[in-house]
């Protein structure tokens, strides 16, 4: 059930107050020192944001994707930038959401209360060195044994794996070469971390350094069929579950893109309204006004599309409709936000390149979203082939 209008404004006000509590310098420091933002994490946990999608019986608030989206957007655009989305996405979208939707009663009891009170952070292990956009080609394999399964494989860019207590692990339980339908034989497991069979090594990266993305090597990890998300009956049927993680991931990253874009526009407007180079404030020049106005307009449109994606999700709509709306929202939001940050930097001139003006940090943050959770090109491919019906150029 979604939060009623009167109460939603209080909820978003809380999000705004938390965001404002952390000045831009806080994020600059956390990013520079590559430190997890413990104080911020505690605040969003105390505010109940990790339990937005979790039913009340497990300590959550049982609200909607729309509420989650709006909270994240509010955090991002009021100063947090990507951080307003990042931690929530890792734990709530990769952990809470699939468990709420598909988990067994036992799995719900085991993980959800800990997720809500911030004790269990989560991560999702999907991407592999040889399988990024083409999930079906993943090579991490869970072989059947007498007791259950033994998993081997390597995952890459697994954000938060260094801190996580839980991992949604995407495996194949049937080889791609042995299935008729490539969606068959994918199985999702819930794995407890840290685990001596799972080696986690952080990868140095371009931005978002208040969280580590890691290489994860899995060697002879023993699991049982009760570790399968949804229990034994979900064996080989992970693809349908995974969709309900990947599309919401696009939705929350859309919130991040819009938030970062709006934040950059606000900073640019403030600067351009006072900075004078030839007498008048530079903000009076239309060559600087139009890109900001245009980015703003596109971000607002992307916001409507993201809300549409939330509506489809919240009404248990068809997954094709969900994928359509969330891919469109993601593509448009990222294009517009990239433009917004680009122009915010341009408007700041040389200062835009200086760390203390923060725009360069947002530039590094927005750069991620054109690559992940899905590249702009793969999102456009989806729209082209699955919505417009054009022939596919790749199999």
């Amino acid at each position: 059930m979604s939060c009623e209008k009167e109460y939603r404004s209080i909820l978003l006000d809380t999000a705004k107050k938390i965001a404002k509590k952390y000045p831009l310098e806080y994020w600059m420091e956390k990013d520079e020192k590559c430190e997890f933002a413990e104080e911020f994490w505690k605040d969003i946990v105390d505010a109940g944001f990790l339990g937005i999608l979790v039913p009340e019986e497990y300590g959550g608030s049982n609200l909607t994707m729309e509420d989650l989206y709006l909270v994240i957007r509010t955090l991002c655009e009021n100063g947090c930038g990507m951080a307003g989305n990042w931690y929530i996405c890792l734990t709530e979208v990769f952990g809470a959401l699939p468990i709420v939707k598909f988990g067994t009663e036992e799995q719900k009891k085991k993980y959800l209360p800990g997720i809500v009170d911030g004790k269990i952070e989560f991560c999702m292990a999907l991407t592999e060195p040889n399988a990024g956009s083409n999930t079906f080609r993943i090579e991490t394999f869970a072989s059947k044994t007498e007791k259950g399964f033994v998993v081997n494989g390597t995952k890459v860019f697994i954000s938060g794996a260094d801190r996580a207590k839980g991992m949604l692990l995407v495996t194949r339980t049937k080889k791609l070469s042995e299935v008729e339908n490539k969606t068959d034989g994918i199985t999702l497991f819930l794995v407890d971390l840290p685990n001596p069979r799972v080696k986690v090594s952080p990868i140095s990266k371009h931005g978002i350094n208040y969280s580590h993305s890691c290489e994860v090597c899995i060697e002879d990890l023993e699991l049982t069929e009760n570790d399968i998300l949804g229990g034994p009956q979900s064996l080989h049927k992970g693809w349908k579950q995974l969709i309900y993680v990947l599309d919401p991931e696009r939705i929350v990253f859309t919130a991040a893109a819009i938030g970062i874009g709006m934040l950059a526009i606000k900073k640019a407007v403030e600067y351009a309204s006072t900075r004078k180079v030839f007498g008048e404030p530079i903000g009076s020049y239309q060559s600087l006004q139009h890109p900001l106005a245009e980015s703003y307009a596109h971000l607002e449109c992307a916001n409507l599309m993201a809300l549409e994606a939330c509506r489809v999700f919240d009404s248990n709509g068809n997954y094709r409709e969900l994928a359509r709306a969330s891919n469109i929202a993601k593509v448009v939001a990222v294009e517009a936000a990239t433009r917004a940050v680009y122009w915010a930097m341009q408007i700041h001139g040389g200062y835009g390149y200086a760390k203390e003006y923060h725009v360069e940090r947002w530039w590094r943050e927005i750069n991620l979203i054109r690559l992940a959770p899905v590249t702009q090109q793969m999102a456009l491919n989806y729209i082209a082939s699955n919505v417009l019906g054009l022939p596919r150029g790749y199999k």
Binding site: I10, L11, D13, K17, I52, E56
Partner: protein, 264 residues
């Protein structure tokens, strides 16, 4: 022991104030719970959490948006709300507001039920700073305003009041009015679980006839004062930069302080 908080819905501090002619343009204003009232509510809720108070009532007078302020207070942790809404109230000044609030308070049992009456020191919109003291006067009880600390011991309270250059410590008997200023506490932001709980808390609504107040006793007609017009403060002038050798600069600054600013 029970506490009551009198709260007001005011424009958000981030709202850009616009005028249409000499009247306030309210069309784009976002309203919030008056930040000073937040201190009052937070204090009452803390007293409840400390086991000193067993109920926190919130009373607000105003158009439908006053309910949002009440809901915010309920989300912080107050137990129930009273909303006085009536078209006749439009244009009421401070004393009329105080009288109406007193009637609503009496309807809820008044001083027989509530011993701690908490207010924000001032509302950031009207900024009259007067309603708390007026209500104390109307009820015939003491008031300590501008407080930064409040300790309740049985039937007595120790309140610390900020004055210029120091603090005054008051010991008062309850019931008493207290008006909170910044520093009394750090108000929490409502967590999602408290917001969910707030949904189930009741808000009672009164019109002036429910309170037995005739319509000519409120609004513009019932008020002593009337706002004739609004004007925006003059735009800030750019600062003046004094440059040169130190001796020269000091001389020029002193001249400025004497002749232009008239400070020395």
């Amino acid at each position: 022991m029970k506490a009551v908080c009198f709260v007001k819905s005011v424009p958000d501090t981030e709202t850009r104030v616009r005028l249409t002619g000499n009247r306030l343009d309210k069309s784009e204003i976002k309203y919030i719970l008056n930040p000073y009232c937040e201190f009052a509510v937070e204090e009452a809720v803390r007293k409840k959490e400390a086991g000193i108070v067993d109920e926190v009532l919130v009373i607000s007078m105003g158009p439908s948006r006053a309910q949002e302020a009440i809901r915010s207070a309920l989300a912080i942790g107050a137990d129930r709300g009273v909303h006085i809404e009536d078209d006749n109230l439009d244009g009421s000044d401070a004393i009329v507001t105080a009288r109406v609030l007193v009637e609503a308070f009496k309807k809820e049992g008044g001083l027989d039920n509530y011993q701690i009456l908490l207010f924000g020191l001032r509302a950031i919109d009207g900024d009259t700073w007067s309603v708390p003291s007026m209500i104390a006067e109307l009820l015939g009880i003491p008031a300590v305003t501008n407080i930064v600390k409040l300790d309740i011991n049985g039937n007595k309270a120790i309140a610390i009041r900020m004055v210029e250059g120091g603090e005054e410590v008051f010991e008062v008997e309850l019931p008493c009015v207290f008006a909170a200023r910044k520093g009394l506490n750090e108000p929490r932001y409502p967590s999602l679980p408290s917001i969910m709980k707030a949904k189930k808390k009741p808000i009672t609504r009164y019109t002036i006839s429910d309170l037995g107040i005739p319509s000519d006793a409120v609004g513009k007609v019932g008020s002593f004062t009337e706002v004739l017009e609004y004007t925006l403060p003059p735009q800030r002038q750019a600062g003046k930069k004094v440059e040169g050798e130190p001796e020269q600069v000091v001389e020029e600054l002193i001249k400025f302080l004497r002749e232009v600013a008239n400070i020395i």
